[in-house]
């Protein structure tokens, strides 16, 4: 297993700290937990390793003029992330979360599912994506999520908190063939598959280069290849955090990928459209892109 996979999804805080927050949410509700987050996140933000993780994105998004500005941006990014984690836990523990989505969006997803070719719901490590997959009951088909759960991740899922059955099944990208056969089988059965299009998992050769926030990054192209092969439409959705216990859904675009064969270059335009939509999300919600990786690292050759 490579280092980046070991790091992927690993909890920053110890197990007991997570449990402490869960108790706090249970006893005091979201408000008390939010209050506790201010000093807690500040302490974490002072850690150089935490600032380093956020640096690549924040420097691209804000170009901070000095260390204070950078510290402020890091703090606000981490605070919003921490709030989404509190809300996710609160959804499982207390069960109350408000989702703001339009009937039009829900109908669009239902219509796409009704086509019978499956639905690929592509999102990113942004906003409340972890919560959103728990609240898609409006989709009348079985739902799957491509998700790698790091053994060092102490954060409980919503279903683990509530004790109820999860409304989706996990497809493990670290499993046989990176979960591709499972995803393809699910789409062939007309089911919905949710995945994150902003992070490469597994072999680098399965990535394409696209432009993002003034630089070049690598993103997976397997989802577009799958959509082309199965005829499944892709709906690009993000889920911004809108305040205490509240998040929205933002349908950015629907992609229809024709069968373009095996050459990955054919899928670059679709990957670029996805990343452009993500860029717009980052402009609108600058403190809600939680991909704590240097996506631009070692892509200098492609920048030339």
């Amino acid at each position: 297993m490579n280092n980046s996979r070991q790091e992927m999804g690993r909890s920053l805080a110890a197990k007991w700290k997570h449990r402490f927050m869960y108790v706090l949410i249970f006893l005091g509700g979201r408000g008390v937990a939010y209050l506790f987050l201010y000093p807690l996140v500040f302490c974490y933000t002072l850690m150089p390793s935490v600032r380093k993780k956020a640096a690549a994105y924040l420097h691209r998004r804000f170009t901070p003029k000095n260390q204070w500005q950078f510290l402020k941006h890091t703090y606000l990014l981490n605070l919003t992330f921490a709030r989404t984690l509190v809300d996710r836990a609160a959804l499982g523990i207390l069960g109350n979360t408000e989702v703001i989505s339009t009937e039009e969006e829900r109908n669009l997803c239902r219509r796409l599912v009704a086509e019978g070719k499956g639905l690929l719901l592509l999102s990113a490590h942004a906003g409340c994506w972890q919560m959103a997959v728990n609240l898609m009951q409006f989709l009348p088909v079985k739902k799957h999520i491509l998700y790698y759960r790091n053994p060092k991740d102490h954060d409980k899922t919503v279903a683990e908190h509530s004790g109820k059955e999860a409304p989706f099944t996990f497809i493990n990208p670290a499993g046989p063939l990176g979960g591709i056969v499972e995803m393809m089988a699910a789409l062939n059965r007309g089911e919905a598959v949710c995945a994150m299009g902003d992070r490469v998992f597994g072999e680098e050769k399965n990535a394409v280069f696209v432009s993002f926030l003034g630089g070049t990054i690598r993103v997976p192209y397997s989802f577009y290849r799958l959509a082309g092969a199965t005829g499944a439409p892709i709906v690009v959705m993000f889920f911004p955090w809108l305040g205490r216990g509240k998040f929205g859904s933002l349908t950015s675009l629907v992609l229809r990928v024709p069968e373009c064969g095996a050459k990955k270059e054919a899928y670059v335009p679709f990957a670029q459209q996805f990343v452009d939509a993500l860029g717009e999300f980052c402009i609108k919600y600058p403190y809600q892109f939680f991909n704590y990786f240097d996506l631009w690292e070692n892509n200098n050759a492609a920048d030339d």
Partner: protein, 86 residues
Amino acid sequence: MQQMINEIKDMIAQGIDLGGADLSSFGENDAIFGEQGMGLDSLDAVELIMLIQKKYGITIENMQQGREVFKNLGTLARYIQENRKK
């Protein structure tokens, strides 16, 4: 059986870019995916499933079934022989 294995190898050689690798030495018990086998990766699986669908009219709808089917050349050949619609 051997004939079907040869057909599969031809199909892979023609339909999937394996950088000109020679597949002639692979037999019934050789894995299709991974470095220890024929070297196909996860995205090649999409191509292979498409090729099987197109040539034999077979759709893999169940992951458990998929895992068994793609274990090695022999399991795939047997599955195609038993389920082909074309």
